[in-house]
């Protein structure tokens, strides 16, 4: 059957190696014309690498690419564009201070006497936006528009170039549930108009709802391709991870104890715009509970945590930790008063990447008498301590405690941070997206540790963008929308759909702290 089908794109026996690893090992993907083809795999399975090969960002060592049955060479994004291949990158490739229109025409500008001619371009963009229901304002600057509109700009970029093979790299990660539905609709429209779509995702529900077929990668290897109509989420999941996974973390019920963290009317100004990023927020975290802040990225969660940890000054409100007012305390004081913080951005905040693992493991404690004496570091003590943590948390690295943090894998970097923050034995643990970008094994490990903290009677404040994670491990859920807490829920009494409505600002309820 497959022999008779005309394929838009075929990637046959692709092998791509990086120093030390094989990112794609003999992978074959065939995209039919007009279909939505999902590419499923865990983080690190090699999906992005494969797409980068198709898009000309990398060159494969082995294998060939065929367009409409003819072999082609794709050496750079220009070649890909000439072949009608377009890509919406996971992290938008948009120039923030340019307008939507400028971003769309960038690279394929039309000129007259050397000067830019934007009128025609504007007409074409408006026509396309009409045809596919992609609402944008061509003259708005990217930095001023919503993430959803930025994504529509990216899609228009491809359509403007008359691309007929569209790659979507994890397009739903940054969207609200409503925006996701809208995107799914847009993708179906596009395929109806004859566009062939490659849809990269690790979210099974989305694949089931939109894709025609699905190819699965695992650890760089091609596992297989299935028709969505003939498969189930469970089967896809098994193909993806190679075993049955227990995604729901098991934990016993517990009655929360005393208030550990008390936040009263906290307001944090935004660095991006003139409004406040966190508006008059009040809540408590008690001993022995995991409180989860849910919400779409960019609704003030980052600033909330910055305000709590002292990375940014709050403009009004009061924060107390175990009854002690820490509103104006320094970062160091908060840390030594029993607050631990697993930061959102492990490369920016969490680690000094060019320090050794051992040095990083004492980043919050190097000044304590255990590790220093009269201003001198006790190097032996630091090494011993590091080795202890490395053993206990199974942090893997090339040269043990002396490994430079930069050379470690993302998962082990995260483990190192978690080891450091948990070993401080904090009264309050603030964990921001602690599982982001990690594989299932690491996620399970981290969830277990968070629950252990809770069971030991500490307070845990978890900020997460993944609803599944929110539902499975929290004791209480607070939903943040545009800097405010718009709802408080017990995970046992709420559905993800309900949460989604709050996260998208469609519903809200007044809550007392």
């Amino acid at each position: 059957m497959a022999e008779n089908t005309q394929y838009a794109i075929e990637m046959l026996n692709i092998t791509k190696r990086f120093p030390g690893i094989v990112a794609n090992d003999n992978v074959t993907i065939q995209l039919k014309k007009g279909e939505i083809h999902a590419l499923l795999g865990e983080n690190g399975a090699g999906k992005s690498t494969l797409m980068s090969v198709l898009f000309g960002l990398y060159q494969a060592e082995e294998g060939i690419i065929k367009k409409d049955g003819k072999e082609v060479k794709i050496n750079n994004p220009n070649d890909a564009n000439d072949l009608g291949i377009g890509m919406v990158h996971q992290h938008f490739k948009l120039v923030q201070c340019f307008t939507v229109l400028d971003n769309i025409i960038l690279g394929v500008e039309t000129t007259k006497c050397g000067l830019l001619k934007k009128d025609e371009a504007r007409k074409k963009v408006l026509a396309l936006s009409e045809k596919y229901g992609l609402k944008v304002d061509p003259d708005a600057k990217i930095e001023d528009i919503t993430v959803g509109m930025q994504q529509r700009t990216e899609i228009l970029k491809m359509l403007y170039r008359d691309n007929d093979i569209l790659i979507f790299d994890e397009p739903t990660a940054v969207l609200t549930p409503a925006e996701i539905d809208e995107l799914m609709e847009i993708m179906k429209n596009l395929s109806k108009e004859g566009k062939s779509i490659l849809f990269i995702s690790h979210k099974l529900a989305e694949i089931m709802s939109v894709a025609d077929r699905c190819s699965v990668l695992r650890r760089g290897k091609y596992i297989g391709t299935v028709d969505i109509a003939d498969t189930t989420q469970e089967e896809l999941s098994r193909m993806m991870v190679g075993r049955d996974v227990q995604l729901v973390a098991s934990k016993e019920d517990k009655t929360p104890g005393d208030v550990i963290l008390h936040v009263e009317n906290m307001t944090v100004p935004s660095k991006l715009h003139k409004n406040n990023a966190v508006k008059n927020v009040s809540f408590d975290v008690r001993a022995g509970e995991i409180v989860c802040i849910a919400g779409i990225d960019g609704n003030g969660q980052t600033e909330l945590v910055y305000g709590l940890s002292g990375l940014e000054n709050i403009s009004s409100g009061k924060i107390t930790l175990k009854g002690k007012d820490i509103t104006t305390a320094s970062i160091r004081e908060r840390s030594t008063s029993g607050m631990s913080h697993i930061p959102e951005d492990r490369h920016k905040h969490g680690l000094v990447l060019d320090y050794s693992l051992a040095y990083n493991l004492v980043l919050q404690r190097y000044f304590e008498p255990e590790f220093s004496n009269k201003g001198f570091l006790k190097k032996d003590a630091i090494l011993d301590y590091a080795n202890k943590l490395i053993d206990r948390f199974d942090v893997r690295s090339g040269q043990g405690a002396t490994t430079i943090a930069r050379s470690m894998s993302g998962g082990n970097q995260q483990k190192a941070i978690i080891a450091r923050e948990l070993d401080k034995n904090p009264d309050l643990l603030i964990a921001v997206q602690p599982t982001r970008g990690l594989d299932v094994g690491a996620i399970e490990f981290i969830h277990k540790e968070l629950i252990a903290q809770r069971d030991a009677g500490h307070g845990v404040l978890l900020v997460s963008l993944e609803l599944e994670e929110v539902m499975s491990i929290s004791d209480r859920i607070l939903v943040m929308y545009e800097g405010e807490i718009v709802g408080e829920f017990n995970p046992k009494e709420v559905t993800t759909e309900e949460l989604g409505l709050y996260m998208a600002g469609a519903k809200r309820k007044e809550i007392g702290a």
């Binding site: 030390g20 990447l353 490395i390």
Partner: protein, 392 residues
């Protein structure tokens, strides 16, 4: 599973040693720098070029009498000490991620302060030295404050302060200049107590009276800095701040305080450097000079040539001063003395490549290692890094 089981220990190549790499890189920079200098000499006058490059390299050895050579060796050391201090200033600040091009101005401020204290207030040498340290430190603090609180690029503010320093010091020292010349009065005639003591060191250099304890002091400062950087809590903090400002802030270090403190120390080092020269009586300040003394800029060459390590900087400073002094032995009727500046600026330029060359060498070495086979666990971790890298 313990980390040790996972440890991947293929035989380490000799080249993988970072100190060896730095040394080799510096040698390559020197050789290419000298080669280009030689070519320029050839272009100017091909006949004398061989002798000229040799006389630059020989410096004090141009004198056939051992006693004279020793004396001039002393002179080179006298000027190498302030150069080392400027280089250490730049090096120390670079650890915090700051490019202290203002060392030149901090040096000028130090010169102004120590000479004015010596000639006008007739203070003893240690107080003059202290004044130089404070003056240089204040100049450093200004740059640090502007950087920490107002986000002013330290290179631009440093340059501005260099010129402001030059003109103010010219104004200040015009009050203590000789009536008939644009030079400041000599210490020997005005205030002998301001001359740094030699404690007999001059005897080693054919009674070169300019050889003082400034030279060993500069060496001690270098060693102290090495210890501060590698063994102390303060060193841990400033290196962390330099490598990752955000992580330093996250861990509760006072990054603004550290930036200002580092630049204060940097300024103090450069200021002390000036005192180490002007309080020997070796040079007088010319109050009409219209360009910032090159000491601070040569310090940049020395610090990068020294592989950004205080001990390496000792040798690099000596080398830079050696060829700078050697430049003075050129026949001025044929060759300009700036050949030495040319060579050191080319060395700075090449040092820009040294880092990337080291990086490439390391990557090549790592590739070799990886062909020997990574443990399987590392495989997908690496892949994850590829994707993870994109996310940041």
């Amino acid at each position: 599973m313990s980390a040790n089981k996972n440890t991947n220990t293929p035989k380490k190549s000799f080249l993988a040693n970072s100190a060896v790499q730095s040394f080799l890189a510096s040698i390559v920079c020197i050789v290419i720098g000298l080669l280009i200098g030689y070519i320029v000499l050839l272009l100017i006058n091909s006949k004398g070029a061989n002798d000229a490059i040799l006389s630059i390299l020989k410096n004090f050895l141009n004198y056939s009498s051992p006693a004279t050579a020793k004396k001039y060796f002393g002179n080179t050391l006298v000027k190498a000490a302030p150069l080392l201090m400027c280089a250490l200033s730049i090096q120390f600040c670079y650890q915090t991620g700051l490019f202290n091009i203002g060392a030149a101005g901090q040096y000028v401020a130090g010169a102004g302060a120590c000479l004015f204290c010596a000639l006008s207030f007739k203070l003893p040498w240690y107080l003059c030295l202290l004044a130089a340290i404070i003056a240089g430190g204040i100049f450093g603090i200004i740059v640090g404050f502007l950087k920490a609180y107002l986000n002013v690029n330290e290179v631009i503010s440093g340059i501005m302060l260099n010129w402001m320093g030059l003109y103010s010091v010219n104004m200040l020292l015009a009050k203590v200049k000789e009536t008939a010349s644009p030079y400041t009065m000599t210490l020997a005639s005005t205030n002998k107590a301001a001359i740094i003591p030699s404690l007999g060191l001059e005897k080693l250099f054919s009674n070169n009276k300019y050889v003082t304890i400034a030279i060993p002091l500069a060496l001690i400062v270098a060693i102290v800095l090495k210890i501060v950087l590698s063994k102390t809590v303060f060193g841990y903090e400033i290196k962390a701040t330099g490598l990752s400002k955000d992580a330093a802030k996250y861990s509760g270090m006072k990054e603004k305080k550290n930036i200002i403190l580092t630049l204060f120390i940097g300024g103090a080092l450069a200021g002390a450097g000036a005192a180490f020269l002007y309080l020997t009586g070796y040079e007088q300040w010319e109050v009409t000079q219209s360009s910032v003394p090159s000491m601070g800029f040569n310090g940049i060459a020395a610090t990068f040539l020294g592989g950004l390590d205080p001990i390496g900087t000792i040798f690099a400073s000596y080398f830079i001063q050696h060829i700078t002094s050697g430049g003075a032995h050129l026949d001025k009727q044929i060759y300009p003395a700036q050949i030495a500046d040319l060579i050191s600026s080319i060395i700075i330029y090449l040092c820009g490549f040294a880092f990337i060359v080291k990086f490439i060498v390391n990557r090549k070495l790592n590739e070799k290692v990886s062909k020997l086979g990574y443990p399987p666990e590392n495989k997908d971790n690496k892949d994850e890094n590829e994707e993870g890298g994109k996310k940041e």
